[in-house]
Symmetry: C2
Subunit: 327 residues, 2 copies
């Protein structure tokens, strides 16, 4: 009778918005809806546009580091550009802020500007408001070649699936920070959590190669994003536990915190890597050009499966996983 | 020692961000910074981009009307496009929401999509998050001719100053709603507050005429925006009280609420009109093409002055006004 949006979950909520928009606007008008970023025709290229909003209380494990908050706000948006294989062109920042100390505010803005410099995306506009907590909403603008832009759709059965770097590191770092435990020896994981770096160069290499059939970033969790590629492409996915490139510190941090390292690598998010698919020959070519780790293959259907170290096949869901067959 | 951002105020805060950005990026890279929207080179045209964030508790006098909240979120962004004389091309919505009833959520989205249709700007992307209150962050994308785009800078002494419609109506409607009093007879003012309409067509006429020397929208209040034109153009401004086109219901609503109608018209904001400057001959040409009300003229300097009905000249400040000379 009075259903709430929590009964749908974020994915179904977004699908609900998209289907409402698609019923009203022509499909050529809403290119990119459901992808990591929107596409606007700009003559010979696409302009690529994305918007992500972060809240002090939900997206920053250590809100005492304003410079990192500014950096991360830019980076989460740049990661969506990377996922589309686009080159950053500018950044717009809308903020709503409580009455911060000016020093804190300046550090926040230093982090934004530092990141804009790093990604070569000048800060070109913005808006300020008052609020009870810090709200940072970014819009990133990039460009991509029309026949080169990376989309979630296009994976074909038989293609290989790869990621651009280690898994679970951002998750482990974030959980370590939230636990309040000693961070000594785990500086890399902490840094990956507080100052992640978007894979812009990798996205450009993938796009310019013309070898990639589908791609996205895994900031919302690897399995969730595999689901996105699968749904957009109308395929299935199979990954192999022993091929997952867990970050070297992930097992130790997971052990300290009593967490499952695999869960951090598969479901948590906070890793700013890309996941993509390409045919075998294309993947071989790409492996000469950049770091990549093949973790599985695209299948004809049947959802997302994981083959564990004993050869047992599990069915993975966007949240949690269940036993499929006893091997 | 520990100054807070409230000691600066919004304008100085924005100036602070802009000067930090300008010290880092080239001026050609940050075109539009400080204007209503950012400009991106798109070959023969500019892409015009703006982002505005609205909060349930601060920007919506009647949060029981979700459809209007959605509409207004789109409209505040479209008003920035109108101020630049640009044609809408798309809209991106980032939301952070508490666990709303699905019916409320659907109405909110219906309002967004209805407005996107009205402005012919398809919903092309977005992002969802959880939050304790409703946060709606929009990004509007438009196009403008490179030699036609309307900027805040360019007003020259001797130009006339005009607005596109009545003043104080949105303010009076908003205050009436917030007062909880009977709205009977004031449906127009209430509608202007809850479902404002951005002056896209008027902006396009102004831009395409090539007759306008500077322009902006007055959603933040007429005097504040005159100050923006003045600062960007290096001029002064003089307006005449008897020329101000107060909305017909504004004096009555102001009287019911014990408010100064002039204060509602000059300082409150919530009117989605444009203010612009043009030479006398240009203004005459424009007056044949659209509704406009000349309210004053651009001066060589000396801030913003208002000549009252008795011929007494006041100096206006962005907040409040003080006596300048006894006439």
């Amino acid at each position: 009778m009075h259903d709430r949006i929590s009964s749908l979950g974020e994915k179904k909520l977004i699908s609900r918005i998209i289907s409402r928009a698609r019923s009203v606007f022509g499909s050529s008008e809403v290119m990119g809806l459901g992808d990591d970023a929107a596409l606007i025709d700009a003559g010979e290229e696409f302009l690529v546009l994305t918007s992500d909003l972060l809240l002090e209380t939900r997206h920053f494990p250590d809100p005492g580091r304003p410079r990192d908050m500014g950096w991360k706000t830019v980076t989460v948006n740049m990661s969506d550009l990377a996922a589309m294989g686009s080159r950053p062109e500018g950044f717009i920042l809308s903020v709503a802020l409580p009455d911060l100390e000016l020093e804190f505010f300046d550090s926040l803005m230093d982090g934004v500007i530092e990141a804009c410099c790093h990604y070569q995306a000048p800060l070109i506009g913005g808006d300020t408001n008052e609020a009870d907590e810090i709200i940072l909403s970014g819009t990133a603008i990039g460009r991509a070649g029309k026949d080169r832009v990376l989309l979630k759709s296009g994976a074909r059965p038989g293609d290989l699936v790869a990621v651009t770097g280690p898994l679970g590191v951002g998750a482990a770092g974030t959980e370590l920070i939230l636990s309040g435990r000693d961070r000594g020896g785990f500086e890399n994981a902490v840094e990956r959590s507080l100052r992640p770096v978007a894979r812009i160069e990798e996205g450009l290499i993938l796009a310019e190669s013309g070898l990639v059939s589908s791609a996205t970033d895994i900031t919302d969790g690897l399995v969730s994003e595999l689901g996105e590629l699968m749904d957009a492409s109308g395929t299935g996915m199979r990954i192999y536990e022993e091929r997952l490139p867990l970050g070297r510190e992930v097992p130790e941090i997971a052990s300290i915190l009593g967490r499952d390292p695999l869960e951090l690598a598969l479901y948590y998010g906070e890793d700013f890597e890309l996941v993509f698919t390409a045919p075998l020959t294309g993947m071989e070519e790409l492996s000469d050009m950049m770091e990549l780790h093949v973790i599985g293959e695209v299948t004809g259907g049947g959802g997302i499966e994981m083959v564990d170290k004993d050869g047992v096949t599990y069915k993975l869901h966007v949240r949690g996983y269940e036993h499929l067959s006893p091997g």
